[in-house]
């Protein structure tokens, strides 16, 4: 990796100041995406701002009808959280399937959300559950936050501080992993909650996470595996690579939707 300066602020304000002052600065929380990119010299930041010293960004709490997850909360802690397991078991289970144990022991929800990798898991959950992303300066609904592959509504220097997730009536997740990287090739999160019935897809789309209106309508009318089984997606908006064509991914979305509904119960 290229050499860079290293900063470790102890407050959100200090972190934002550092990041705002330098467009080439990059925040790091778990580093599970940033560090592999730096190692391959795909990225050349002038400085890396380590958020791990900011205690206020950690932890999970229940706030009425919402779960609030601090941005620095690790996947492992989400998978193990009693609050989340009780309120949104599908989210806890999703967290337990992210990467491998060592990724889950370092990677954070805030980092994953801010990065918006099209193969990352959480964006589909937040979109389906109608979550909101709290930053140092505002709150942004998941609908507005995820703006395309590796692209979000975050401004320069803006930091995700917490994620607010309404507790649904029911939710389920299923994914097909890429055989090599084990990232999602097609993952579907289904939810019935305050935001209505929603179906969001990660991994498959050529432009990142997306919702499937037809499935949502079908499930709203009849919450059942059979309701989504008949909904076929067009391949034109899908990714294709050596592990599977766009047609295959389009097909997988339906299969994973069925399984997600079954998992949701």
């Amino acid at each position: 990796m290229y050499e860079f300066a290293y900063h470790k602020p102890s407050s959100v304000a200090d972190a934002v100041k550092l990041l705002s002052a330098d467009p080439e600065a990059r925040p790091i929380s778990g580093g599970m995406t940033l560090l592999p990119a730096l190692k391959l010299r795909l990225n050349k930041p002038s400085s890396v701002v380590d958020l791990s010293g900011i205690a206020e960004l950690k932890g999970v709490r229940r706030d009425g009808a919402k779960i609030v997850v601090g941005a620095l909360t690790r996947h492992y802690d989400i998978a193990a959280s009693a609050e989340i397991k009780a309120a949104i078991p599908a989210l806890a289970w999703m967290a337990s399937t992210i990467g491998d144990t060592q990724v889950r022991n370092r990677g954070t929800m805030g980092g994953s959300v801010a990065n918006n990798d099209p193969s990352a898991d959480y964006p589909a959950a937040l979109l389906a559950l109608g979550g909101t992303i709290q930053t140092d300066r505002r709150t942004i609904s998941a609908d507005d936050f995820f703006t395309g592959m590796f692209s979000t509504a975050l401004e320069m220097g803006e930091l995700v501080t917490a994620i607010h997730i309404p507790v649904p009536e029911k939710a389920g997740y299923a994914k097909m992993k890429n055989p090599a990287s084990r990232y999602s090739m097609a993952g579907v999160f289904v939810a019935k909650g305050p935001a209505g019935v929603r179906v969001a897809v990660n991994g498959a789309g050529a432009n990142g996470v997306f919702r499937v209106a037809q499935m949502e309508a079908a499930l709203a009318a009849n919450w059942s595996v059979d309701a989504v089984a008949g909904v076929k997606l067009d391949a034109s908006g899908m990714n294709g690579d050596i592990h599977g064509s766009a047609e295959y991914r389009a097909h997988l979305v339906t299969v994973m939707a069925k399984r997600a509904v079954a998992n949701a119960g």
């Binding site: 055989p179 090599a180 294709g240 064509s245 047609e247």
Partner: protein
């Protein structure tokens, strides 16, 4: 009888001696070694599959912080450095030698594959070297490239080498073409089959590494390297590349983290760090990044084949015709030419009485990483072709696939059995391994399991392969007549120390096989010395007299046999010393596991008595025998060895996703005499895992322009624990008849027998869909595509 307690000899599952250091984190792999004053090398590699280089500007790189030196191909060429040699010469059908274009250590004027070395930067740290490598300006003029054998042979294809017209390395054949044509003329049925043997990346977990060191006072060079055969590297690099006499060049292959063939070859980086260490007068370390391994380690397999099987009306095989295109990559790696010829076409008889075989092989240059031996090397390709063809043929003639095989097996009483493709099998019992495997896998109960799976919505299939391989490589005279430029004997030294402990020096090399234990067991078994008192030394040309290394399942069959010959000499000398000490005639002295006894008496001497006398020769027949008890033997085998057996795979397919899951795997192998059953089982399990990897997961994929699409572990599917299922391993032994241990070898059988068993199971699972054949790897996307009507796939 003086048996070592607890029994540690032949047949005991002794726990491994080497494990303590590996488990404690105290192994010494090449990258763990740091020499005083060491610098670090980074190789700048071509991003183009094919390009002319019109200039390289290294001035900015040389000015970067920490940079010690930068060298390019022309710098090496100016010093008359040789190209990387090829160790095997194949001849064309017309008797002319193969095309053998030069293989510069660092590219000169042209690059021929992505990853071809263009320059080396030597700096105080690896990070500095990498920073500076990016500052080198290379003026490339990209050229059209060819990535596949078909593309390379097409009319008007770009030439990889000017000296290889049509990109042809050789056009070779074996067998009696006229007799084959006659056999086909009287055939009742001919079954045709085409297949590709997918290209693989070996991916030993330890990336390659090399440290070159030059002693300015003595002029001696030392190379530490991740090699399966340090003496071979010394010979090739010293004699052909750097022109350093053996006496001035020491090659050390310390602990090596897996090889699977990929660490046999002499690689450019070894020559670069050794040569450059004398230029900069400091040690230089180079260690591959994994992504670099993908574009610089020799790949494996990559065959495209057509086969035709001629059958009589009863299902007996009359003849086999095979045409194969083999990808050599951009340059000839050390043993590349022999893989698709003498390690492949000679195996096409398999375990069957096929009376006539004719095979043609064209080896082809492409703009891809060189291809050479990978676990099994040629034999997996032959076995896969043959064992898939057997299933296809059985189905087409309506015969049960097991009965079809049984009907064509070489009978138990037919050994030694001469095949029509050069080999003479010494022993085997294919009926026994088949029956044992069918029983162990509960073949008869399969249909019930298939029905149970169907009830859950899963497609279950079972597949079998009955295979054979030729290993224990190899008789020098035979391989010499076939084009090898080296002998393939092995060397063993048994050094009995004064107090009776033993050091073994072996020319083989252990990079996971457990030689430190298995070879010590041979000593325990023969000389009665506890294995704790037997030290096995390998991997250092300064310590071990000579050796050809470890590959082709040869370590026990050839290296172990050399040790037996050396122990014969120890025992013979010991008997003469014992006869003197016990005042008996040599003919009356018997030896058994550490004890010399005058036959029919209770007069005995221990090995320690004898070794002490040999090193303190006060009461000693000094006029007749030299002091000391230290013997070396070179063993050149009389024949290859022929392990074989039966593998049965059981898979379950999720028809919705196309994902194939392994549910059972049964291996019954005849590997000859088993020295350590635990280690044999581990070798078979590991080989089977690589075979399952080839069948279901792994593929090195190039695009048409020669870019490697599966160029990292993010895209190349390495088998993980949850991709595999338990592998049941059993052995059924017939002894090798021509080596003193009766051993055949177990390192490769798993990777040879398993891919067709798995693919036969996959095809069986999909038989309701009218599938005749599926190419490896059987990925979820590919299976889904088949199930759902063969819709076009962007990826295929």
């Amino acid at each position: 009888m003086n048996v070592v307690q607890p029994f540690e000899g032949i047949g005991a599952s002794v726990r491994r001696k080497e494990d303590f250091r590996f488990l404690a984190g105290r192994g010494q792999y090449t990258d763990d070694i740091n020499r005083p004053g060491q610098t670090h090398a980074v190789i700048l590699r071509s991003p183009h599959a094919h390009a002319a280089i019109s200039g390289i500007d290294v001035s900015a790189a040389k000015a970067m912080p920490g940079v010690v030196a930068v060298f390019t191909g022309p710098d090496m060429a100016a010093e008359n450095i040789g190209g990387l040699p090829c160790g095997w010469q194949i001849h064309n059908k017309d008797g002319s030698p193969m095309a053998e274009p030069p293989h510069p250590v660092i590219a000169v004027g042209k690059v021929r594959h992505v990853g071809d070395p263009v320059a080396v930067v030597i700096a105080e740290s690896k990070a500095q070297a990498r920073d500076a490598a990016e500052a080198i300006v290379v003026d490339y003029a990209p050229l059209p490239a060819v990535a596949t054998t078909e593309a390379a042979l097409s009319a008007g294809a770009p030439l990889v080498h000017d000296g290889a017209p049509g990109n042809l390395c050789y056009d070779w054949h074996i067998g009696d073409k006229a007799a084959l044509d006659a056999a086909f003329a009287r055939a009742a049925k001919v079954v045709s089959f085409e297949t590709t043997n997918n290209r693989l990346v070996p991916n030993a977990m330890e990336p390659r590494s090399a440290i070159g060191e030059y002693d300015t006072t003595s002029g001696d060079y030392t190379l530490y390297t991740t090699s399966q055969n340090p003496h071979v590297i010394r010979l090739l690099m010293g004699a052909f590349v750097l022109h350093i006499p053996e006496s001035k060049l020491r090659v050390v292959a310390p602990d090596v983290g897996g090889g699977f063939g990929s660490k046999i070859y002499h690689y450019a980086e070894e020559a670069i760090v050794t040569w450059a260490s004398a230029k900069v007068k400091r040690p230089i370390k180079w260690t591959a990044e994994r992504t670099e391994s993908f574009m610089s380690d020799a790949h494996g397999r990559d065959h495209v084949s057509k086969a035709e099987l001629a059958l009589d009306a009863e299902g007996k095989i009359l003849g086999l015709r095979v045409h194969t295109l083999a990808n050599m990559g951009a340059y000839l790696s050390t043993f590349a030419p022999c893989v698709p010829t003498y390690l492949y076409a000679t195996l096409l008889a398999g375990v069957y009485t096929t009376p006539v075989i004719y095979a043609e092989v064209k080896a082809v240059f492409t703009n891809t990483v060189p291809v050479d031996a990978y676990r099994g090397a040629g034999r997996p390709e032959a076995t896969y072709l043959l064992e898939r063809l057997m299933d296809v043929a059985a189905r087409e003639i309506g015969m049960d696939r097991v009965e079809f095989r049984r009907k064509n097996f070489i009978p138990v009483d037919a050994f030694p059995y001469q095949t029509p493709v050069a080999l003479q099998y010494d022993s085997g019992d294919y009926f026994a391994t088949l029956d044992q495997a069918l029983e162990s896998a509960d073949w008869k109960g399969f249909e019930a399991r298939r029905a149970a799976a169907a009830a859950k919505g899963k497609l279950r299939g079972i597949g079998i392969s009955t295979y054979l391989e030729a290993c224990g490589i190899a008789p020098s005279a035979v391989v010499g007549s076939l084009g090898a430029r080296a002998g393939l004997y092995e060397v063993g030294t048994i050094r009995v120390h004064p107090t009776g402990s033993v050091t073994v020096l072996t020319g083989t090399h252990s990079h996971g096989q457990g030689h430190e234990t298995t070879l010590a067991q041979l000593v325990a078994d023969r000389l009665g010395v506890p294995i704790a008192q037997v030290d096995v030394v390998h991997g250092d040309t300064a310590k071990v007299p000579f050796g050809m290394g470890t590959y082709g399942s040869r370590s026990l069959a050839v290296g172990g046999s050399a040790m037996v010959k050396a122990m014969d000499k120890i025992v013979a000398k010991g008997k003469r010393i014992a006869a003197h000490l016990m005042e008996a005639s040599v003919e009356d002295v018997e030896f058994d596991r550490g004890t010399f006894r005058v036959a029919g008496t209770d007069k005995t001497k221990t090995l320690t008595d004898i070794s002490l006398a040999a090193y303190v020769p006060h009461n000693y027949p000094i006029d007749e025998i030299e002091p000391g008890l230290d013997e070396t033997a070179f063993y050149d085998p009389k024949n290859f060895t022929y392990p074989g057996g039966c593998h049965i795979a059981e898979v379950e397919i999720d028809p919705e996703t196309g994902k194939v899951s392994m549910v059972n795997f049964t291996a019954v192998d005849d590997v000859g005499r088993v020295i350590n059953p635990m280690i044999v089982e581990g070798q078979v399990q590991g080989g089977v895992a690589q075979g399952i990897g080839q069948a279901l997961l792994e593929a090195a994929v190039y695009d048409a322009s020669g870019q490697l699409l599966s160029g990292s572990m993010m895209d190349y599917t390495m088998p993980r624990a949850d991709d595999l299922a338990p592998v049941s391993v059993a052995t059924h032994t017939t002894l090798c008849t021509h080596n003193p241990l009766g051993v055949k070898g177990c390192g490769e059988v798993g990777a040879i027998g398993s891919p067709p068993a798995v693919m036969n199971a996959v095809v069986d699972a999909l038989k309701g869909y009218g599938v005749r054949h599926i190419e490896m790897p059987a990925t979820p996307a590919k299976i889904w595509n088949i199930i759902h009507g063969g819709r076009a796939m962007a990826a295929e």
